[in-house]
């Protein structure tokens, strides 16, 4: 029966992927992409990769979906046709896509057979201070990679802000949001954030020992802020506000300081003394989650735009 389950899941995954790529119409492709992310997270659960499933549900189906929907809305407003009307196939684009897909397939086929690092991991894990092996790899064994990744998000946000117009630079971020006071949207914006906040903090906290972590929790916290902002209940900030700059760099900064502290003691750069490793990882995760939440929320809201009421 589990074989049948996996077979149905694979058929649905392939079907949504093909529908997103081959179907006509941008909006339909976006909706299929969202459903694809949802099915993919079920697939990761079936592969017992719950950490990845959480990230896929939050980023793939969640934030990327809303980002694409917002982009679609903007395209339809800027020009009358968000939908290309030519029926033919764009040959150069098709060729490049096929080439990229072929290269990826080749790279996948020459990858070495993955081996589960059971013995090494079982030996090293007790010294990491956390029980979730994924968190141990991300924040202890390969902390250097994670530190650089946390800076990449910041670079993406700076790139996005550079797209803002000069004359709008002093404005609040994103298009002005408004909703009928007491309406469905407003009540939604009041009910959802407390629940989401609890889930986000829970995911960060539980990440030490169970699937979860800074990235998944931070994405949920970003979504919480987004819902409140979209419902018009909170005003997005301006670029120049230093409190938000502090929020953006808090995670990488705490991470870096912890690394330097390790280098000054005898644990080495980004190494933590065994006695406090668990606490150190939790503190870094909390700071990273806060920065990831602010960065992702700003990335979805977009660059500053005019028209905000004061």
């Amino acid at each position: 029966m589990t074989l049948l389950l996996d077979a149905v899941l694979c058929v649905l995954l392939l079907g949504t992927a093909l529908a997103a790529v081959l179907g006509r119409g941008v909006f339909r492709a976006i909706v299929f992409f969202i459903v694809y992310g949802l099915l993919l997270s079920v697939g990761w659960v079936r592969l017992e990769a719950v950490n990845v499933a959480l990230a896929e549900a939050a980023i793939g189906a969640g934030l990327t979906g809303i980002l694409l929907l917002t982009t679609y809305g903007k395209l339809t407003r800027v020009s009358a046709e968000a939908e290309p009307d030519d029926a033919g196939v764009n040959l150069p684009v098709a060729l490049v896509s096929v080439a990229v897909a072929g290269a990826l397939a080749w790279a996948w086929s020459v990858l070495p057979e993955p081996t589960r690092p059971r013995a090494e991991l079982a030996e090293a894990l007790p010294r990491a201070g956390v029980e979730n092996p994924v968190t141990a790899v991300l924040l202890s064994f390969r902390a250097w990679d994670t530190l650089l990744e946390s800076v990449v998000l910041l670079a993406a946000l700076i790139g996005l802000w550079l797209l803002g117009r000069d004359e709008d630079w002093q404005q609040r971020l994103g298009v002005p949001q408004h909703a009928r006071p007491g309406g469905i949207m407003t009540s939604f914006g009041r009910v959802l954030p407390p629940v989401g906040f609890l889930v986000g903090v829970y995911l960060v906290f539980i990440g030490a020992d169970e699937p979860g972590g800074a990235f998944q929790g931070g994405t949920v916290l970003a979504a919480v802020g987004l819902v409140a902002a979209l419902a018009g209940l909170i005003q997005p900030p301006r670029i120049g506000q230093w409190q938000w700059h502090a929020g953006l760099v808090l995670g990488p900064l705490v991470f870096l300081l912890a690394g330097v502290a390790g280098a000054l003691s005898d644990s080495g750069f980004l190494g933590y003394p065994e006695a406090i490793a668990g606490t150190a990882i939790l503190v870094i995760e909390a700071a990273l989650a806060a920065s990831i939440a602010v960065t992702l929320a700003f990335l979805v809201i977009g660059p500053p735009e005019k028209g905000h009421r004061e």
């Binding site: 079907g15 339909r28 017992e48 719950v50 679609y72 989401g196």
Partner: protein, 107 residues
């Protein structure tokens, strides 16, 4: 019990397939989006059914899918409003502006 739960999960995933037909045919944008919401509900149901087999960790994924499904609905309503930041409830009934989430508004 495992067999029974897996069997029901297969059934739920099959109903999800029918929701995908509505995403494909539309015709309106709201039809497609509501079908995606329906498939989200089915995905949550499938994960809850599979959870007892894998130490209940799948419940957290189901929780996230439910939360982000709600966010996607808000994002859709906002994106299809006339200025990108509106709310269909603000539009007066009988006004000239067509409701952007009208089910007949085909994409």
């Amino acid at each position: 019990m495992t067999l029974w739960l897996t069997g029901v999960a297969v059934g739920v995933l099959c109903t999800l397939g029918f929701a995908l037909l509505r995403v494909w045919h539309g015709p309106g944008r709201a039809d497609r989006m509501m079908a995606a919401q329906l498939s989200g509900t089915a995905g949550v149901a499938a994960l809850v059914l599979l959870a007892p087999m894998q130490d209940w960790a799948a419940l957290d994924v189901a929780l996230l899918l439910a939360l982000f499904g709600a966010l996607a609905a808000v994002g859709f309503v906002k994106a299809t409003s006339s200025d990108g930041g509106g709310d269909p409830e603000e539009v007066d009934i009988g006004a000239d502006t067509p409701d952007p989430t009208d089910r007949n508004a085909d994409d």
